[in-house]
């Protein structure tokens, strides 16, 4: 049951919701469409469900053109952000709906329907709630009813639109773990839309990062976090510091530093932009030859992690660094301290000559060489 999405485009009057999007979804996969609002993720989901249609492109499932199949016949289960439960029906009636509206020839008997609904309600841990109305349930319970309703017709593809968006933080975390277990049990191909990176990284087998109607990167959660392919992914997922740099004679020039690095071989001279994650900045109170001199401006201790603000005069910029909370306390870090800062990895996008935009095709990940003055890894 592979789904092939080929060159989909969808325009609304003055807005490109999808711009040449291609993606392949493998059977049993759990895929997250992650992006800010307006990135086209919901439009893509609605096209998969048959509730919207692209202006160009194809959608094929097992050799069958899905765009010719109406929403009714797509064998898709859809869970809406605001649940969209039928408010005048009980939980039981909601879950049974998809079976009851079938043409008589394919409709299960009353007893079979009751049986299947009971099993589903057990599965979503709502047995005993069958006669309640949606308004008598909590948000998390409603969401599980919506899920049971979507699963009742035994769909081949489950689609979830911001499934946890309207829930409290605690319920959200519990429900998404539960959903992950359910997926591992059922192995149902699932696509879900979210703007919450934590949710996407924790739940999905594969994350599709979208921005402005385009796919920025497709990869496992680890790949997307550790090796962002574009400046957008760097800025959208996790935290990052962005530095304007120059490449000169095989070195990265940033502020007063000319950093020698592995991975720079053959790179043309010119302006570039470098990204570094906060946890990839090493620093020490010692004054060293290599590395920027910085002043520690603030230490924010947030539970297990300490966030540090480092003022670097030669760069003219403040960088954010991270350290384990215990580590930070052990070293008695204090605002006003002078430190030396060294990036351990840099991802470099040369700026294109004509547009001045970062060129993602010439992306490099480089590892600075600091010789003897290198700081030990502090984590």
């Amino acid at each position: 049951m592979t789904i092939a999405i080929n060159h989909l485009s969808r325009r609304f009057t003055d807005f490109r919701a999808l711009d040449d999007v291609s993606l392949s979804i493998a059977p049993g996969e759990f895929v997250a469409l992650l992006g800010p609002s307006g990135s086209g993720k919901t439009t893509l989901l609605r096209i998969l469900a048959g509730l919207d249609f692209p202006d160009a492109g194809e959608l094929v499932r097992d050799g069958r053109d899905l765009l010719q199949v109406s929403a009714r016949d797509r064998d898709v289960g859809l869970v809406f952000q605001h649940y969209a439960l039928f408010r005048h029906m009980t939980v039981f009636e909601n879950v049974a709906f998809g079976l009851r509206v079938r043409p008589r020839a394919r409709r299960p008997s009353k007893a079979e329907i009751a049986d299947r609904v009971d099993k589903l309600l057990k599965r979503v841990q709502l047995d005993g709630m069958a006669q309640r109305y949606p308004s008598q349930l909590s948000g998390g319970q409603r969401q599980r009813v919506a899920l049971a309703r979507a699963l009742a017709t035994e769909p081949e593809l489950l689609l979830l639109d911001e499934p946890f968006g309207a829930l409290d933080a605690q319920v959200r975390v519990a429900l998404r773990r539960w959903l992950r277990h359910l997926h591992e049990e059922m192995r149902l191909t699932t696509v879900f839309v979210t703007h919450d990176q934590e949710e996407a990284l924790e739940l999905a087998d594969r994350v599709v990062v979208m921005s402005q109607g385009r796919i920025e990167q497709v990869g496992t959660p680890d790949e997307v976090y550790q090796q962002p392919a574009t400046p957008f992914v760097f800025e959208f997922i996790g935290k990052s510091n962005k530095l304007p740099v120059r490449i000169q004679n095989g070195r990265v020039v940033a502020g007063d530093q000319r950093i020698e690095a592995e991975g720079l071989e053959g790179m043309a001279d010119g302006s570039a932009v470098a990204y570094v994650r906060p946890e990839h900045l090493a620093f020490t109170p010692a004054a060293l030859e290599s590395g920027w001199r910085a002043t520690l401006r603030h230490v924010y201790l947030a539970g297990s992690v300490a966030h540090l603000e480092l003022d670097i005069p030669t760069l003219g910029q403040t960088l954010e660094a991270e350290l384990g909370g215990e580590e930070a306390q052990r070293r008695a870090l204090q605002a006003g301290m002078s430190v030396t800062v060294q990036p351990r990895h840099l991802t470099i996008f040369p700026l294109a000559g004509n547009s001045g935009e970062p060129d993602i095709t010439r992306r490099r990940v480089v590892h600075p060489r600091y010789g003897q003055a290198a700081l030990a890894r502090w984590r």
Partner: protein
Amino acid sequence: MAAVIPLAPRRSRARRVVHALLIAAALSFLLLFLLLPLAAVFVEALRKGVGVYLAAVVDPEAIAAIKLTLLVAAIAVPLNTVFGVAAAWAMTRFEFRGKAVLGALIDLPFSVSPVVSGLIYVLLFGAQGWFGPWLEKYDIKLIFAVPGLVLATVFVTLPFVARELIPLMQSQGSDEEEAARVLGASGWQTFFRVTLPNIRWALLYGVLLCNARAMGEFGAVSVVSGHIRGLTNTMPLHVEILYNDYNYAGAFAVASLLAFLALVTLGFKTFLEWRYGAELAARAPRGH
């Protein structure tokens, strides 16, 4: 603290006075302009005794007027119900060119004087009207006949159902209908199992208002009726004729019937609101 405590009752006493004054003003206004005239209708109707009252009501012309009024309402109300649901559906579920124009058109009968509405039909279908000669050729009589009354009534009562439904359907959104579609429901199944149950109370409310107006309409109907006694006289027109004949008791007797119909509608509406309210309260979201 001591300085604060006396302040609160003083302010609330002032507020209570204002409340009482406002309520009294509203109630006396209602009494003077609504209840008093309504009571007068029944008092005048029964002034010459129950015998005269009954005679006026069972008069063949009165019976014909009652029958005609019910007939016109029985045709106009279902037509406008179907139209109203379709228009509300179109206005809230689709994006199309000219949506604003449709919205304005639905409101048109509210903004045009009923007399003008009647005149429009006379100008279109009357003997001297645009389609008059054509209609005459095929011997179809619209104006000064029952079809004309129905047309005028449909025109005047057109907005009631649609206007009642549009805000509700807008606020409900189309998520539930989309959910039904993805679950495999056909268009009719979606309408009868999801849309209709969600709008049933508002729909009934709109139908009642539409019906009240259809039975009580005077202006537009008066223009197209021709006032042929026993044939094209509806109840409101019959009241006018009796009144102009100095048959005050008869006029008020028929008027009291109309008022009674209105009161029944009002009572039914209040009952529905009470039911609707109870249902809403029972199913209100718990604040998630």
